[in-house]
Subunit: 182 residues, 2 copies
């Protein structure tokens, strides 16, 4: 990172994305402001426009990054179906900001080539991992597995779950996801 008083920031694009993650984690994607990100990064209010065009452009980049990182997390979970589901939930909770943007296509440009590619890669991974596990009707099985992991993650993030589920999502996620194909 270069000196803070230099005219050129050095790595503003990354700094803005990091600041966006921080801001979204604090107040949700709805309250995100480009000018606030610029302040956090110590640049002028118009600097973000050069790297992302507009707000949707920044969120497109964030969603793309999210799909890529979700892919890594799923690969790290191995072939086991249940662990993939748990990894999906853990990713959503640990990378809340990314996750909250990824599945709100009204916030970004869903037809952006880079984003489409990242989403396809991770989607294929998701579908393949499940249909490899069970023999018959892979489509419905994959959809069911994706749905249950995604639903649990969304409900957890929304704070909709009863408090007795506990503070750690992982054991609850393992139990819930395990109910499939049992």
């Amino acid at each position: 990172m270069t000196s803070s008083r230099s005219y050129h920031h050095g790595d503003l694009r990354r700094a803005l994305l990091d600041a966006a993650v921080e801001a979204i984690a604090e107040s949700g994607p709805a309250a995100l402001s480009l000018r606030d990100l610029a302040r956090r990064a110590g640049v002028s209010h118009a600097a973000p426009a050069h790297h992302f065009g507009d707000k949707a452009g920044l969120l497109t980049a964030l969603a793309t990054q999210g799909f890529d990182r979700l892919g890594e997390a799923l690969r790290g979970a191995g072939d086991d179906f249940r662990e993939s589901g748990v990894a999906y939930v853990v990713f959503a909770v640990r990378h809340r900001a990314h996750f909250e943007v990824m599945f709100r296509p009204d916030l970004y440009r869903a037809d952006d080539p880079d984003l489409v590619a990242a989403r396809e890669r991770t989607g294929e991974l998701l579908r393949g991992g499940v249909s490899r596990h069970t023999g018959r009707e892979p489509d419905v099985d994959a959809l069911a597995a994706w749905s249950i992991a995604h639903g649990f993650a969304e409900l957890w993030l929304a704070g909709a779950l009863p408090t007795r589920v506990g503070a750690d999502p992982e054991p609850a996620a393992r139990a819930v996801v395990g109910r499939l194909f049992s």
Copy 2:
């Protein structure tokens, strides 16, 4: 409905909520503007403030309405577990605007008394309906059922599902939800 040129609107609160549903269905909750709603209802830009205080107040009312209507939809589905899940998904798709607000507590006041009451009522209904169906470990079963229906609905609304699932969510939802406890 009173004459459009009268000083008092007559039923502005309802008109604004209806307009909000329309606007959110068109462009998502992020693009919602109180001034746009006022224009749609034919009143001045400051009129909404009297009924809802601020934007969060309006969305709180919309979410409350949504939880109540989801409760009605679930009651209409009867005691059958699978049909409850399908009804949940159908509600999400048919009342997209309400659903999209209900599970985004960062958009409204989640501690509002009326909202909390409506959410509790529907939540109890959701949990009770499922644990009545299966005998053992009702908590995990209820959570799994809620998760799979909620996840499928969210993925459908986000446009994340492969196109071959089809244009009608109901048969796909029935198949996916049916995978639980099978």
